[in-house]
Symmetry: C2
Subunit: 678 residues, 2 copies
């Protein structure tokens, strides 16, 4: 008779095991990650599984009746003390009696969200870098005078297979007392380095310690976002954000680099500011969730190169000019204490690698989250800020670059531009016949031509245009024929509509005739043209490198991408033609990547290898970039046809001859004054 067949879901891993094998052992032998703090003593409750009822035939397993051992004493004891949900079993206690389909509960909802394209079928195993290990340690024996710490190490080797572990210095003096307090039963936190495989004991508690937290943090130049997740279940239990206090030293990244260059203590002050803000967020997520700071054992950080350097205490000056040399591009392993953060004294820190001088650990994290390298479609991943970080590729090959878009997309350099905030115009439609606009402002769901709009916006007022509003108004002006392919406002329309007004030697479009009056000037359009041409040229350059004329999917990462309408982005020619159903905003993909690296240390290896493999393109060094830039000044641009876009909107017929002539007015060399991304 053959041994029973065990199938673990959702991973689908399967194997045959002798009757009597604990389910936990079977899982481990198959490489199915099932948490266990107590090492099979039935006290931590972390190893719960569910036995699938029904649907067995499709797996070739016909019945579950009596195929698992009955509820045992360990489980009864656990269920009395704590809760054991119906259908749940402790896999350390339940043993195999016949063929089985076992569900490993995926409390980790993060995974289903991450990779949209693979939807719910793709499952990421948890495999945190820090593991809690409960052990019972031999008492001192004068016949075998091993030290207390040495007997603890022996127990960790015996029960958990951790041989030759290192021990954090701060534990040396504490171990003896902790062992006695726990009456020779303790829980050790073991950190396993993804790079070297070296295991270290980083924390120790008397008795069973059944909670461990990790942080995933994205340090943006404007906002710092933090998640607190259980390292034992993978669940995020608190998230919070804060403004980056470095803003007081400079609004955008380059002004912060300048501040460092001009002030002897500038770097130190900015490092202190960002670390204090991060530490404050740790306090916030702990307060919110009731977690103990001292139980935070691992933390993953991402950020753009300048944030990355300042957080690590590195002078970012070199990033301010060519050759934009990163002090360190590889992943950084550190400790919370070394970065001035209050957590467990042994808490480790992992900082994702940077891709290039303008393509940071945030872009690496977004790449990890969206996974162009994990799939076969040609995927374009764009994060737009003061610079745009662009990643393009598939499993075969991935390229990356940054493009100097400037801050126009963020509402800067635009006469009526503003940050996204209540009162800012975010949606715009222009009637092609009357040229009359209607719009929506942040804070109200009503369009400006709907009744109740005035009342709804009374409080906030109508204060300006935010990034997504700028994209839409310029695109709508183009679609309505107000501006030509070369971006010039058609002054002749002033006769037809009072919306078109003279403004010196050029014309503007009056979007809102109120207080303040909100107009779109010829300069505003030029600024958007320059920004979108830079973005598009960068994308096109990467497409050239890969020799592709078409992308299969586009992912917008970051706040900007969350609010713009892909259709308008394509009308303006920010992005190449693509099936609109495959263009999506993915929110804080960098933060998602940080969470993945927190929950499964294999992702650290993956992102490091991916970053090594990515071909880095420096736009400033590519002659083609200038050509693309010039051609991309036109609306939509002069480079590609837009068959997919044409299905969604009616594009005005092309009227003008090739690009090189008409775009020249707006052309300027931006590389010299390149801005680091915001």
């Amino acid at each position: 008779m053959t041994d029973p067949l065990i199938l673990f879901m959702p991973s689908g891993k399967r194997g045959r095991f002798p009757v009597g094998t604990p389910v936990l052992d079977a899982a481990r032998q198959l490489g199915v990650y099932v948490e266990s703090v107590c090492g099979g003593r039935g006290i931590c409750g972390r190893c719960q599984v569910e036995v699938q009822e029904g649907q067995f035939a499709k797996h070739g397993i016909t019945s579950a009746e009596d195929h698992l051992s009955p509820f045992g004493p360990k489980e009864q004891r656990y269920a009395e003390k704590r809760e054991l949900k119906p259908g749940r079993r402790l896999s350390c206690s339940a043993t195999v009696q016949g063929d089985l389909v076992i569900d490993v509960p995926q409390d980790v909802q993060i995974n289903a969200q991450i990779v949209r394209k693979a939807a719910d079928t793709r499952v990421f195993a948890r495999k945190p870098a820090v593991q809690l290990c409960y052990v019972e340690v031999e008492e001192p024996d004068m016949h075998k005078p091993l030290g207390d710490l040495d007997r603890l190490k022996a127990a960790l080797d015996r029960d958990w297979g951790y041989a030759d572990i290192l021990v954090d210095h701060h534990l040396l003096a504490q171990t003896q007392a902790i062992l006695r307090k726990g009456q020779w039963a303790v829980t050790a936190a073991i950190h396993k380095d993804a790079e070297t495989g070296q295991a270290s004991m980083i924390a120790l508690w008397p008795g069973l310690h059944n909670e461990a937290w990790g942080l995933a943090c994205d340090i943006g130049s404007t906002t710092i976002a933090m998640h607190l997740a259980s390292l034992l279940s993978g669940q995020v239990i608190a998230s919070s954000g804060a403004s980056n206090p470095q803003i007081r030293f400079g609004e955008d990244l380059m002004s912060r680099v300048s501040y460092v260059m001009m002030n002897p203590d500038g770097r130190e002050a900015m490092t202190k500011a960002v670390r204090e803000a991060v530490d404050g967020l740790i306090g916030k997520v702990c307060d919110e969730s009731g977690a103990d700071r001292n139980d935070i054992l691992d933390a993953v950080f991402v950020g753009n190169p300048i944030m990355h350097h300042l957080f690590l205490g590195i002078d970012p000056t070199e990033l301010g000019g060519a050759p934009f040399a990163l002090a360190v591009s590889g992943a950084v392993h550190s400790r919370a204490g070394d970065l001035g953060l209050s957590a467990n004294p042994g808490c480790r820190v992992y900082v994702l690698p940077c891709i290039a001088g303008h393509v940071g650990a945030d872009a690496a994290a977004a790449t990890l989250a969206e996974g162009p390298h994990r799939q076969d479609e040609m995927m374009l991943l764009v994060d737009v800020g003061t610079n745009a970080e662009i990643v393009l590729g598939s499993s075969a090959r991935v390229v990356a670059a940054s493009s100097p878009t400037g801050p126009a997309f963020e509402g800067a350099e635009i006469s009526a531009g503003q940050r996204a905030a209540p009162g800012a115009i975010e949606r715009v439609r222009i009637d092609p016949e009357t040229l009359e606009p209607r719009f929506r402002v942040i804070g109200s769901e009503l369009w400006s031509d709907e009744s109740g709009f005035a009342e709804a916006t009374e409080k906030t007022g109508i204060t300006g245009i935010c990034g997504s509003g700028i994209i839409e108004v310029v695109a709508e002006m183009f679609l309505a024929g107000v501006i030509s392919e070369d971006g010039v406002v058609d002054g002749s329309l002033a006769a037809k509509s009072p919306r078109i007004v003279a403004n010196g030697r050029t014309f503007s479009y009056v979007l809102h005739d109120g207080d303040p009056m909100i107009t779109v000037t010829q300069n505003d359009i030029r600024a958007i043209q320059l920004a979108k041409a830079a973005l598009y040229a960068g994308i096109k350059l990467l497409m050239d490198k890969l020799g592709v004329e078409h992308v299969d999917a586009i992912r917008f990462a970051g706040a900007f991408g969350s609010f713009i309408d892909p259709k308008y982005a394509m009308v303006l020619g920010l992005i190449p033609d693509c099936d609109l159903s495959k263009v999506s905003a993915v929110g804080n993909a960098a933060g998602t990547g940080a969470r993945m690296a927190l929950i499964n240390r294999d992702y650290r290896r993956e992102v490091e290898e991916t970053v090594r493999r990515i071909e880095k393109i420096e736009t400033a060094l590519e002659a083609k970039f200038q050509d693309h830039f010039v051609a991309a000044m036109a609306l939509p641009n002069k480079i590609d046809p837009f068959p997919e876009l044409a299905k969604a909107v009616t594009l005005p017929a092309r009227k003008t001859p090739p690009a090189s002539d008409d775009a020249r007015g707006g052309r300027r060399r931006r590389e010299g004054g390149r801005r680091a991304r915001g």
Copy 2:
């Protein structure tokens, strides 16, 4: 034609290499350690070798004429800038042209001294845990935007074979500036962990940095001894010592443990005191030698278990009572900064393992230095203090124990006892006919019956008897028949000599009838009997364990052993019978072991493995120990014959019946009040 044969001395390693092979490469391929900081660029001068002239035939090599390439341009350049002694060549520059015998200069005189028995033939290769590596790093390249640190790591991998190195946190923020200061040439200090093999970059300097220092330190309860050695040549350039300032908390170890138990801040105060003293010694050896503290990159510490614990900041309370549990017995890896020591911020610390609760890292170091496990003779290694640490064995098997000798050997518990200091009687002879004594005191070379003695001792006076004096006077009293085998002063001799005087119901011997009067009382003799019986019983117990009746060699480690005359130690029966020519004092063997572990990291593995292998015997748990103790009260003792001793001295004929009766008076249970060793 076969390739030329190259023989390296003194290791004797040999191999054939193609004509044109640099001598340095040949050495490395054969595993001959030749230092090189600059990696063969001919600028550091560390790889010097000598070509042996003559004596070639015995190695099968007949001529050296033209067998080495002529003095090359790199060597000329080096010789112009610095000194290149006659006959010396840079092995990175000189190439093989024919058969050769190459001398690798052993600047490391430490080795010849260490192992007396193997004399000058035994050579220890240097292989420090920290290596200096000069590299030239690629400049930043926008086409390959690797970080500065990452390009440095690539260079270390390329030139030195260090892949996947870790980087100390403090270097993260400094690397960029150092690379630029050195114009892309830097020297990195790489620490290679003996335990895990993991390499870490711990320090970095611009350009060529050609010096690295290490510390070897023995923390005794009375004295702290420190050596400063070059990690590049192995030479000790400064040595210093200081009193252990913990003495103000308690003279002996147990009183220090008591201080910790009685005072909440006691442990902290003592840790601070010893670390400050160690740090002061670092300053002293640096001042003495002109070395820069910042160039100290490695440090090795040894000490008895209580010193070990207090230095590491560990509460030693558990060592004060059974089961005498060490907090940690294995080797400890730490950093100078973690121990409050000022050295290079990356300076590593290695603390040798402890053998058992009363047999510390100092005993482990002494074992490493004397090497009972490396040879086939039955070697006894004894370090006498308040407890005696005893190691016995050979390559086949090694056992260790500590014996509660008490402080009598150090002059305590003796009516006229004192520490070894000017004025203390250290040598004694008694005329067996007249019973008149003659003696010498510390500070004078004259015997008391020689003319000029009074003048010579006028300044110091004659103040008491030190440890070696006690041994000699009691042994001489025995040899002169003043005391019997059972240690009783023969009162009947009072009639024959005025030196024998009544003292209550017992008799004393007047050694010096001056001011103060120095007598040896019956109690003094009992104290010495108890101490020597404890030591002997411990040794005998270990001999029982190994099933041997005889030891081939005896090594006395520590200060006590340096001053006592082996003959008298044997007359009294401190040690078993042994060829007197094979009984020797080895001084601070613990310090020597520390130096070995500093200069060659393989010794760290060796001492760790040896300590693991050593069978630890707890005398308190062995019934036989009591029997041996009682039998060993007699003079010499009732256990062994002394054929070797009998060749050197005439022992009085045995008069008394077996031990158990006559020794009972002096017998008391000492294990309950066991003293930790001083």
